[in-house]
Symmetry: C2
Subunit: 282 residues, 2 copies
């Protein structure tokens, strides 16, 4: 297991927001993550963890700065961990045109199989396996975990939960990309990371995974009705896929809300309380 | 009165975060401000306004994105207005070396008298006079006002209140520059904006203004004990100045907190509740 190096620490709502760097085996590069440790993490009893996956262009910082989650986490006594959205740094290949929706900042939480992406772009293994092991080895946390995210990160949270029965106590998403194999963002990313075989794409698509899920973990999803990216997100596809197999889904359409962090901040408390309940903290 | 032009709107906690641009008479350039309109602003009764002044390097955006204030404002029914921290744009002179602590992003909420700054750098007139008139003419708000801010903006809030008895119902500050004429940030800015006559500097210095204040409006101040800029802020000078004349001051030293928005976000609710009470909303 790699060692973790503290980058910065800020006191926040009686706990600590900290950023760490470490060498990642999964992504073969240095990775940065942020962690919010509520005051309860200092009190001797292991605290459960909620993993947050951010959307396109984000790093570990956006959520911690903009979502207003620390106040609620401090009240409930849950740790929040926010990884980066892709591998980064020297030697990590990026989109040749510098596009915002592929390459750095756009790992899509999958394991790439195509060159030159396959060596570093393994965010799925990083998020599901390497990062929790690292967190559980280095912080006073329990092995009780939940996962949530926004947009590309909502997609990430949903596929991580659906592909790993028993691994998470609960899952939720804000404005997730529900059906990446059918929309431009997803088709571009999956086509390049995985190649042209559409059957391979389905292994990373929430709407495809729901059909074969062996655990019917309920899904909580918020979607703004004023979301400027609604065509990429396709909540109707998720609704249909869940209905087809009776997968429990609470899809809340929020009138007037867009895709921004103003939307996320408005509903983050609901999501954290939802996870805290599943984690035995409410 | 100039017209205001909507730049963007995001629904937030049932209300709206909006950004506007307008031509400013005070600063002789286009200015941008942000406003948070809580759900109560749609309900027919005029709503009071709290003005937020940001610190060095900020625009109208930092506070609205990072402080988590909208949740509380939506509960209490107060409007928040966040102006920019200086004039900006083509034709507005800036620090020749691009320093972060002078020129654009560093207006210090004073009226400059020295060239080439005197034409545009009149943030005091803008904040105290022009902006409230603009807000009161264009939004469903009352003439009940309070003011608060952080660092350079904490200094701004305190001097605006101290120099204008009756203009604000309440004032507070987070990590304010309390005694600018005695510390490097203030000496650089006041020396260039106002010239070398130190007597002129005192008209814009909280610790100097307290002695002659004709209204003893109580001051609420939070100061992180881990603040990396503590030497520029000098809470002891404020404490001594207030004690010397019996000006009511609640100075709360917060162990472990630094100068960042993580500190601001932690205590913003206390400040908003303090202002709401003075504004008859709690």
């Amino acid at each position: 297991m790699s060692t973790i190096e503290l980058i910065s620490a800020n006191k926040s709502f009686g706990g600590w927001h900290k950023r760490y760097r470490h060498r990642s085996t999964a992504t073969s590069c240095d990775m940065t993550f942020a962690i919010y440790l509520p005051p309860q993490a200092d009190q001797g009893e292991p605290v459960p963890v909620v993993y947050w996956l951010s959307g396109l262009t984000c790093t570990d910082e956006n959520f911690m700065q903009k979502a207003g989650a620390q106040r609620v986490a401090a009240e409930l006594g849950v740790v929040i961990v926010a990884p980066d959205t892709s591998p980064r740094g020297e030697g990590v290949p990026d989109d040749p045109d510098g596009a915002y929706d592929f390459g750095m900042g756009a790992g899509f939480y999958i394991n790439a199989t195509e060159e030159p992406w396959a060596r570093n772009y393994r965010m799925y293994d990083y998020v599901v396996d390497e990062l929790p092991k690292l967190i559980e080895a280095n912080f006073p946390v329990s092995e009780q975990r939940s996962i949530f995210g926004h947009s590309m990160g909502g997609h990430g949270a949903l596929i991580c939960a659906l592909k790993n029965p028993g691994h998470y106590q609960s899952v939720s998403a804000l404005a997730p990309i529900t059906n990446p194999s059918q929309v431009p963002w997803g088709q571009k990313a999956l086509g390049r990371y995985l190649g042209s075989d559409v059957e391979q794409w389905k292994k990373w698509d929430t709407c495809e995974l729901i059909a074969g899920a062996t655990e019917r973990l309920p899904l909580l999803v918020d979607q703004g009705e004023g979301d400027e990216f609604i065509q990429q997100l396709n909540p109707e596809a998720l609704e249909a896929a869940a209905a087809a197999v009776g997968h429990p889904l609470t899809l809340r359409r929020q009138p007037g809300y867009d895709h921004s962090y103003y939307f996320i901040a408005t509903f983050i408390e609901d999501h954290l309380r939802y996870h805290a309940k599943a984690l035995g903290r409410a």
